[in-house]
Point group: C4
Chain length 200, copies 4
């Protein structure tokens, strides 16, 4: 295996595990809760914040996986610092199940909703920042690029990535005042990424 | 690595983790339960709904893994939308441990049994639908097929996949009236798939 | 990727996850337990059944991984039934964290110790049986062997595998009468496998 | 796949899972705790020992992954004993989530802090010892080296690895007397490794 292949495989493992662990935050309703809700189906319906968190976390990690995947279409070499920045980026990815669980737990509580969305948004900012660090470290001066990399494509992609931190930063500020609007912002940013052809 | 190889590896990771997380829903019996059951072996025997859920969930994910595997014998390229549909399909796979845990918990309760089987069956319908979306997106007009793909085999496979959503839909409707019959339906559908040569 | 490569990768994922999930059965001692034990170090020392279960489960899954690895040195093709038997074998591997957790919980209780070792031993019997099914299905009449496979080595390996089910069966019977002796039997069987050169 | 490739893949799986399981030790604050802390953000801030443990455990496993990665740049063959030592090394890696969880739980308690750091440090010593066993078994007399391995590089690397066990041993002794200093020692050792060019 070439060096960057093994790094990719390791990162993919972390992505795959973090995305699959999200399901553990959806708890089976207890007998008491089923009784209070008037039946299992009603209790299951009452878990909507958990489902919402699951879908949001799943799409987020899925999108970041695809982005990370895109980096390695241009980067074929690695070095010590690149490995280090990668570990910091993975640290934010593997962290996602925690803010997602907090979101699922406190979204229905008006008093705590804002704080839960702040935590989630701050995690997204950290993720966008470390992801950009990864990209710019690799492409700066063509450091880890393949000799025949398409520099025009690299610049176009890079400019798009650069918009991530300020965009998530705005959503983070929004989260302090308007949690639901911030959540809608997260959904919108995910959609924008998922349907890029529309955005052009 | 070619593009579809990395996608396969990522998906296989999600399959492998989801299938292995199923065991976490089998809880070690508490000392009180052991005492009430009159010994550990009796308490372990009382966990039969958990074992049933474990086996059913394991076979289901195992079968879907084999099906997904089959897709990639014909599909060698990917694009943005294919990735997206894949993420939606994986979202249903990684979700399986939750309905399985609900099934294991509420199967012995006559009042809640039906609802638990409904949730499980609905998950299967979502899985069959996203799986078909994946397949038809890839083969439609030969979009992501290898140039020399065996079109006759592609058509035969596709027709078989198409039977999935209506079959699971019937089981879902059945679940509202006859939970045990619906469970038998799930076992039957799994067997039909596992022993395809018999079915021809 | 060749067909058996993807199967290997999937199985390796299940092995890696099952082996790593074992650590989740070691629970952080509660503040009450720390207080009762007279300090954290004493409470940690009191977790010896969990450590024992962790090491035993880890070695068991590690050994089975190496055995499974050995099969694929001879088997390069797969078919539908081989996939199915593989799924049944993986079902026993992914199950190991449960009997291990039961062992860790009830080993210190004289009244339940035997039952806990019975469950563990029965799991080992099921594992040895499905593993043999896997091997014999593949090599029977050279079904899935490489054309130039070393048939002498295949026969030697097969004879060694065949000893697994009766050996674990004896330990299972022993578990009903003498749990500690049965545990020693498991350790001995693991050692026999780990140091094969010594055994020749 | 060549023999050492499959071993690498399996080990990478264990690394990736152990590193991602770390997040499970960060528990969502209960409603009572949120109330007592005067809001969710304050309760989240009160989880700093969990975050510290998460970051420390993540960097530790990440570093060991990179080190393990380095071994396989020189080792291309495996044998039975190498597999066995690898399993023992992985046993210490997969164990890390437990001492990390203990650290996160008991770091704020002055009476138990020392014991928690002792457990963490002892785990690091075991990890450094099994890692060295792995390295020296492979390179001793060039046993598993590629024929054209750069022996000068092998010696330089080996000398650096040899410093691990005594360095972690000193930190372990320190943990009995000065837990915070020992924790600083762990952070320092991690930094030393992460920024090697600075150290030269």
């Amino acid at each position: 295996m070439c060096e960057s292949d093994r790094l990719e495989t390791f990162c993919d493992g972390v992505f795959a595990i973090a995305i699959t662990l999200l399901v553990l935050e959806i708890r089976v309703p207890t007998a008491e809760r089923v009784h209070a809700a008037g039946g299992l189906l009603h209790a299951l319906a009452g878990l909507w914040p958990s489902y919402l968190g699951y879908v949001l976390g799943f799409l987020t990690i899925g999108i970041m996986w695809a982005n990370h995947h895109a980096i390695f279409q241009y980067v074929r070499r690695t070095d010590r610092y690149f490995l280090l920045v990668n570990v910091l980026f993975l640290l934010t990815i593997a962290f996602v199940p925690f803010p997602t669980a907090v979101l699922a737990e406190y979204l229905p509580e008006p008093a705590e909703r804002g704080d839960a969305v702040v935590l989630y948004s701050a995690t997204m900012v950290a993720m966008a920042l470390t992801f950009n660090a990864l990209w710019w470290y690799a492409v700066r001066g063509g450091r880890l690029l393949e000799p025949d990399a398409d520099l025009h494509a690299v610049r176009t992609i890079g400019r798009r990535y650069l918009m991530g931190p300020p965009a998530y930063g705005v959503v983070l500020v929004l989260a302090f005042f308007a949690p639901w609007a911030a959540l809608a912002g997260h959904a919108l940013l995910a959609l924008l990424y998922l349907l890029p052809e529309r955005g052009r």
